[in-house]
Assembly symmetry: C2
């Protein structure tokens, strides 16, 4: 067995090559399914070798571009390298890479921003075209040839099933303790052959711990020993702590009113510092026996799991800081009993999200006074990252929370606006909006009551007078008073920002 000791299948051990040789299996025009979800479990070296090859080919005057499908966001070694080489024709379903973002917003790369739970289904439906190659990071290969998944599963099951050719990266940096923490469900199908997914608790096992791939499809294996993206953990700032405080208070009230059980319902928490702060807030609360049914396990959730305040978490990926990774390694024996990683079509599945009654907490770019949420577009046209799983959870959640500081860009942007410049979550799907200013519980409220609450509870005091003024004039002059709007002015906060660099009226 080669150097890493992670490949226990003799036949497959003989397929180990270097990254350049592996990347040679990818051709101009190919569609490539890569592993990777929130900077975890993405291939570390083959995409960079591919990027070099693309650059060389371009330098020689020939075209070379591929379509890249992933789980979600990856890292500079994948999205960054391929985008910098102008090697990506089309990208789906989610990315957060700065180079890719610039290419997309310059109109140089196509980007299909879809719900993460939809991706596998879309690939099977056929309209996206065939998948030529899969490049998948795993943490090991068993003697039977089963693939031990890495720090994320994402769409790997589907990519392995669908690709003509498979390239594996076996990463010995990944903890050996991952072996056994995965639950890969092989029961999905296209309609009319779908069956109920028999999962009723976040920690239920319904699948197998390993990924399968026919040996003959595996054209190359590369050994690596490189870390995941591992963004540093930022301690929660005052705004994030205030947001967390409002949420914990709300949850306590819901429990005391008998509307939520004491251990709450399974939590979903988006990626980022505000989400981490909410989890930190729960760590200091009186709640016990918590569970999570979510996409990603960040440091804040790891802390809850280590302390025992959270008894189980189901996700599709880790997204840990270097300290979080060290903590995981140190407490792996305990955490193995409390964590399951699943394919993202299951971690985000509408059937399960609805059944479990998930409490969904996601960030946003802006919300409007009527409760519509923009999660993806800056000033209506520039993609920031993408919708990710926020729609999977918000749409079918028991309660969908959206969290944001009330201002951005040093106060030049109000995240509460008269009308959002793009909608990812409609008024029908947003339950609660929280800023550092306060919490607006929009459930069971007609639009005008929502507007009053969002302005008074969530908007920054500096912007409240202008929002009140807009709303009052809309109430008077709008052609309809169900959702009063002055359309000539509804997006003027955005145009003012584009012209003056601030939403404040001078």
């Amino acid at each position: 067995m080669p150097g890493s000791g992670r490949i226990h299948h003799p036949g497959l051990a003989r397929r180990v090559v270097d990254a350049d040789a592996a990347a040679a299996h990818i051709r101009h025009g190919d569609t490539v399914g890569m592993s990777g979800f929130t900077g975890a479990g993405y291939p570390k070296v083959v995409p960079q070798a591919l990027a070099r090859r693309i650059s060389d080919t371009h330098a020689a005057g020939h075209p070379f571009r591929v379509n890249v499908w992933t789980g979600a966001s990856t890292a500079p070694e994948l999205d960054g390298a391929l985008a910098a080489a102008d090697g990506v024709e089309l990208r789906l379903p989610y990315q957060s890479d700065p180079v890719s973002r610039e290419k997309i917003n310059a109109g140089l790369m196509e980007y299909i921003d879809v719900h993460l739970s939809h991706v596998a289904q879309m690939a099977w439906m056929g309209f996206l075209g065939p998948l030529d190659v899969a490049v998948i990071e795993v943490s090991g290969i068993t003697a039977d040839g089963d693939l031990i998944p890495s720090s994320s599963i994402g769409n790997n099951k589907t990519w392995l099933d669908q690709a003509d050719r498979v390239v594996l990266e076996v990463n010995s940096w990944q903890s050996a303790a991952l072996d056994g923490m995965h639950d890969v469900y092989y029961g999905t199908a296209l309609p009319p052959d779908r069956k109920p997914i028999q999962l009723t608790r976040p920690h239920d096992r319904i699948g197998v711990p390993y990924l399968r791939c026919p040996e003959e499809k595996i054209v190359a294996i590369v050994e690596t020993d490189a870390p995941d993206r591992n963004s540093p953990f930022k301690a929660p700032d005052a705004d994030s702590q205030a947001i967390a405080g409002h949420i914990v208070e709300f949850l306590e009230q819901e429990v005391s009113r008998g509307r939520l059980p004491r251990p709450l319902l399974p939590l979903q928490s988006g990626v980022g510092n505000v989400a981490n702060a909410v989890l930190a807030g729960l760590a200091n609360s009186s709640f016990e026996g918590l569970t999570a049914y979510t996409e990603v396990i960040q440091d804040g959730m790891l802390e809850l799991l280590c302390s025992g305040r959270m008894v189980s978490a189901s996700a599709t990926a880790f997204s840990l800081s270097p300290e979080g990774t060290a903590r995981f390694d140190a407490e792996a024996a305990v955490l193995r009993e409390r964590i399951l990683l699943r394919p993202q079509e299951i971690s985000n599945h509408p059937e399960i999200v609805r059944r479990l009654g998930v409490l969904a907490m996601n960030g946003l770019i802006e919300a409007d006074i009527y409760g519509n949420v923009n999660s993806t577009h800056v000033m209506g046209s520039r993609i920031q990252n993408g919708i990710g799983g926020s729609g999977d959870f918000a749409r079918n959640a028991y309660t969908s929370f959206f969290l944001t500081p009330s201002t951005a860009k040093g106060g030049a942007i109000s995240t509460i606006v008269p009308m959002v410049s793009h909608v990812d979550h409609t008024e029908h799907d947003v339950s609660v909006i929280v800023t550092e200013q306060g919490l607006a519980d929009l459930r069971g409220l007609a639009p005008r009551k929502r507007a009053e609450l969002v302005i008074e509870r969530c908007a920054h005091p500096d912007y409240r007078p202008a929002l009140r003024d807009y709303y009052q004039r809309a109430l008077r002059d709008s052609p309809g008073r169900h959702t009063p709007h002055l359309l000539a002015e509804a997006l003027s906060w955005h145009t003012r920002y584009l012209a003056d660099g601030t939403m404040r009226s001078q």
Copy 2:
């Protein structure tokens, strides 16, 4: 047993009173859960008696308003009468009544426009407050006291379970053949006690044919013999026929490409003439063995069921013309084997819609060039009807179609606009847009490709040059080119219409 012969339980038969006596059980400030879905199965006389009492109370200088929850839209005898009496404080979840619409848009009535699959869950969650009275039409009462549902089920199970007091209308106009056509699922629960719903085919029975209600809650029973709303059937016009033609052609292509099975997948079809035209188009197609998993059975679907081209249909309500009702009565023996009516939380349940892979077809008010759909608001502020079940189906469908003629108001409105003035279905949830001009298959396309397709395939030729001009200038001048927009101009088509009565530039 009283006159109608429909009340076979002796104890309950003694509770028959007149409508005024029954309405006396409803008090100022009460929340009242009424039956009724798309003009079928709503109470016919108690709401009118209530409206008279409200008017009399107002004339005497006293307040009298109630909150009204239903299944979906009802009829002039319910929404019309109560709204005209200014008796409705708050209305949910869907209505299409012209008097109510005016009150809502005048700011005189609160209206909470929610997904139809969410209503029962919301009522159980508790934040809407208690349900004081249920007023439910049934088609009969068995000797055991079980309630034989009427021509719709809607939220009746939940209203009967939750209400303190229950008033029944037993309507002998409803066909006796309805007995046995219902499937009332009593397996729902709040999380964490939810179980998989074991339904894998549209026609699976998972419940019981009758509604239950504790005898002691039934405070009054009224006998009626009055027809459902029964809007006349309009023969499809040329635009609707063209839309239907595009859809049938698309479905045939999908089958020939192996992307859909020959009997297709279960159809959902929104209410209205365009939907009816699509069903008529299928009646003249080569498809056989069709099924439906939908909200409403209209004349077009009844025709498919009678002809045998559709083998089964699951819905929560009928919405038939007088001729359709006569046809149902004449062929009830056959149709009983092919139709099931369910509670709307099951007919529209995200778990089932996703599992069955429903092909969802719904109308719209306007769509934008990037595929965002407005189903509810005229010029951004006036509510038309509501989102109904369109979001339940579109969001979790296998393929979500949105259908509309390309213009409205004699050509003064383009239903394809640069940016919609309200969003009910986001770009992430819209698969296909169809007008009489053509069909745009948006699946797997990034925003700019979607825009080109929507403009060239769907927009009316009179509006195409202006849309191309907007898009080309946005492509040049937009701060981001992922979704190019000129925010100062994006809603100018709407403001022009409000000012000039037309979206055409002069």
